[in-house]
């Protein structure tokens, strides 16, 4: 029932040839660039938190390939996104401007998500239909089913992306959301980012089965497990799922096997529950940037000079976003009361 994609490809690079997936050389270089932007932006936010300039940080490092592969399968501006807190690279990839994203970390008055009301990493961006999530995990899943339901009722062919962790898939919201979506065949893609941990709790304490996506059969929708460290494999799987949803053939549950390279969040010390050797191994074997770089080199799409140039370009973007956002005004305390209700 479940489809397993690129899971045991014994490759240090990527499992598919991008040309066979309909991607140009430029597309692949762009994907790498976006992944790197996601990584460097994330690292910057981590530093800002340590410096006391942002109160909180939660990292997407390790999960960028899955996010970029997913992002490129959607149509920004038309499709809807109900992302979860690690999806920074996805937001950058669908086109949320880095400066505007940075405003959220600094909680500035002109932060486009909420004017400093919402926590960082609870992404919201109205111009691109990015819906902010609440802090209880997985509550976005039923809502995403509802967003897609509205698209279906109006006869529109927009598709909704919703993501969550494997820990979040233990919640009733997961079951209820998927069941509803499958019954009504609504155009939504459920993306489980399985990084093996929910804070300190390993996946084998969340579920007695190996794959979250194996549950798809129980709801009557296709389930796919894919190597989440391979941006092209994820793109392939997501493209098929999104096309199917757009044709009116209903939802898909996609599980990306991925890794969390950092602690759960700035409030966590993961030395309590995982060894430093484990992290070193993940960095050596599972870093999606390393794999993508190897692919670009192997395919002759880039050389060292190109990587250097891109690195410089990305750092300029991140620096510019940081400096600009930090200089923006803070919200006024009296505005705390605004937006509770409609008010002209």
């Amino acid at each position: 029932m479940t489809e397993y994609v690129a899971l045991d490809a014994q490759t240090k690079s990527l499992a598919f040839d991008h040309r066979e997936l309909g991607l140009s050389d430029d597309d692949v270089r762009r994907m790498y660039e976006l992944m790197l932007l996601g990584r460097r932006f994330d690292e910057r936010c981590e530093i800002l938190q340590r410096q006391g300039k942002a109160h909180f940080h939660i990292s997407g490092q390790g999960q960028e390939a899955a996010q970029i592969g997913a992002a490129l399968a959607f149509i920004p501006g038309k499709d809807w996104f109900h992302p979860y807190y690690r999806d920074l690279a996805l937001l950058l990839a669908i086109g949320v401007p880095p400066r505007e994203l940075m405003l959220g970390w600094f909680a500035r008055a002109n932060d486009p998500a909420s004017g400093g009301r919402q926590m960082p990493a609870h992404w919201g961006y109205r111009p691109l239909n990015v819906v902010t999530a609440s802090s209880p995990v997985s509550t976005q899943i039923p809502q995403a089913a509802g967003i897609a339901y509205a698209h279906k009722l109006r006869g529109e062919d927009a598709v909704t992306y919703v993501s969550f962790g494997e820990g979040g898939a233990s919640k009733g919201d997961f079951h209820e959301g998927l069941n509803f979506a499958a019954i009504h065949k609504v155009p939504v893609i459920f993306v489980c980012m399985n990084n093996g941990y929910a804070i300190s709790v390993s996946a084998n304490k969340q579920m007695a089965i190996e794959n979250v996506a194996d549950r798809a059969a129980g709801y009557g929708m296709p389930g796919v497990v894919v190597d989440g460290q391979d941006m092209l494999a994820v793109y392939k799987v997501m493209k098929e799922a999104v096309d199917r949803a757009r044709r009116g053939e209903g939802p898909t549950l996609v599980e990306c096997k991925t890794v969390r390279l950092k602690a759960h969040s700035s409030d966590d010390d993961d030395r309590l529950y995982r060894s430093r050797e484990e992290i070193q191994r993940l960095r050596a074997e599972k870093d999606p940037l390393v794999r993508a770089r190897a692919y670009l080199l192997e395919q002759g799409l880039a050389d060292d000079a190109w990587f250097e140039e891109i690195e410089k370009k990305i750092m300029e973007i991140v620096n510019d976003a940081t400096d600009w956002a930090e200089a923006q005004p803070l919200p006024r305390p009296e505005d705390a009361m605004k937006h509770v209700y409609w008010d002209r």
Binding site: H55, S135, V137, G172, P333, M337
Partner: protein, 323 residues
């Protein structure tokens, strides 16, 4: 008598009760190796093993629901839900089940469980910073405790674990590091008892949990200006013991009620109503409420502080009722 943090007092109560009664066990998210979101159960996994300190999936409904079942079947579960925001997802189990087991079985079954959770805030934004003690304090069949000091946390948690009825025990994240005297010898405190924490003749301040400390600070500062406040703590919200409040009010004729709740339909409304019922003739000024304004708590520090009550708000309210 030892000085002890609120966190250690809670932990001590848990450890003692687990040593005393092997039916007591803990379950919740991250309570095992990680030692709990607020490090309350740290070390307990090694002491008692996985059988009695059990990590659960992220499933707040099953944590509470399974606790109800295990309690009906003879165990003494202490379920931990990281924060009340997530405990919302447990409410069906607590309100439709835990609270009603005894009644709907005509007394033949009982549900002796404790649901420990937290209240608190600190740049965590709207859906991470809420507490709904009034939601659960409204429900017949539940007991609701919100201790403000280490000694109360210790004595009341032990009583809660031994209580034959379901108890919701709400700790405050800002209090975990607060130190206080806790006697070395074991003791239990009665559930449903309010206490005068500071004596005074001019105004009665009623508070609990973090606001108790704000009230005591306000009282200290006002004392320097010659205003003597009586501070009454109500660590048990249900069953609510209002006698000390009413007695105090009959002495001061004025009351300020301080909670972190939103203005409107809160615990304070119940207290005010009872004061009106029992001491109407003593009223010298309208009862004043200190609350959070009715707005989802924003993330930005400046916005957040503007929206959370503290000792300054209490002082202002005291001066107003004295005017």
């Amino acid at each position: 008598m030892a000085q002890m943090t609120y966190r250690d007092a809670v932990r001590r109560a848990l450890i003692e009760e687990m040593e005393r009664d092997e039916r007591v066990f803990i379950m919740g998210e991250e309570v095992g190796v990680w030692g709990g979101t607020f490090a309350v159960t740290r070390g307990m996994y090694d002491m008692f093993g996985e059988k009695r300190v059990r990590d659960t999936p992220i499933s707040e409904l099953v944590i509470a629901g399974a606790a109800v079942g295990a309690a009906m079947n003879g165990l003494r579960p202490v379920a931990e839900i990281m924060t009340f925001n997530f405990a919302l997802l447990s409410l069906d189990a607590m309100i439709n089940h835990a609270a009603k087991v005894r009644y709907m079985f005509g007394g033949q079954f009982e549900c002796p469980m404790v649901l420990r959770t937290t209240s608190g805030w600190g740049q965590l934004s709207a859906t991470h910073s809420q507490t709904f003690e009034n939601y659960v304090a409204h429900v017949p069949g539940l007991k609701v405790i919100m201790p403000g000091t280490p000694a109360d946390a210790y004595g009341l948690l032990k009583a809660a674990i031994r209580d034959p009825d379901p108890v919701i025990f709400i700790e405050h994240t800002h209090l975990y590091r607060v130190r206080g005297e806790v006697p070395d010898e074991e003791f239990l405190l009665p559930i449903g008892q309010s206490n005068i924490k500071r004596e005074g003749r001019d105004v009665t301040i009623v508070a609990y949990s973090r606001m108790l400390h704000e009230a005591l600070k306000a009282a200290d500062e006002l004392a320097k200006e010659g205003i003597e406040c009586e501070v009454v703590d109500i660590p048990t919200l249900r069953p609510l013991d209002l006698r000390p409040v009413v007695q105090s009010f009959k002495k001061t004729y004025r009351a300020v009620l301080a909670t972190e709740q939103w203005l409107g339909y809160g615990v304070d409304a119940e207290i005010a109503a009872q004061i009106y019922e029992h001491a109407f003739d003593y009223l010298d000024a309208p009862i004043k409420r200190v609350t959070a304004p009715p707005v989802p708590l924003p993330y930005n520090k400046h916005l957040e502080l503007a929206a959370m009550p503290d000792k300054e708000d209490i002082k202002r309210a005291v001066l107003e009722v004295l005017r």
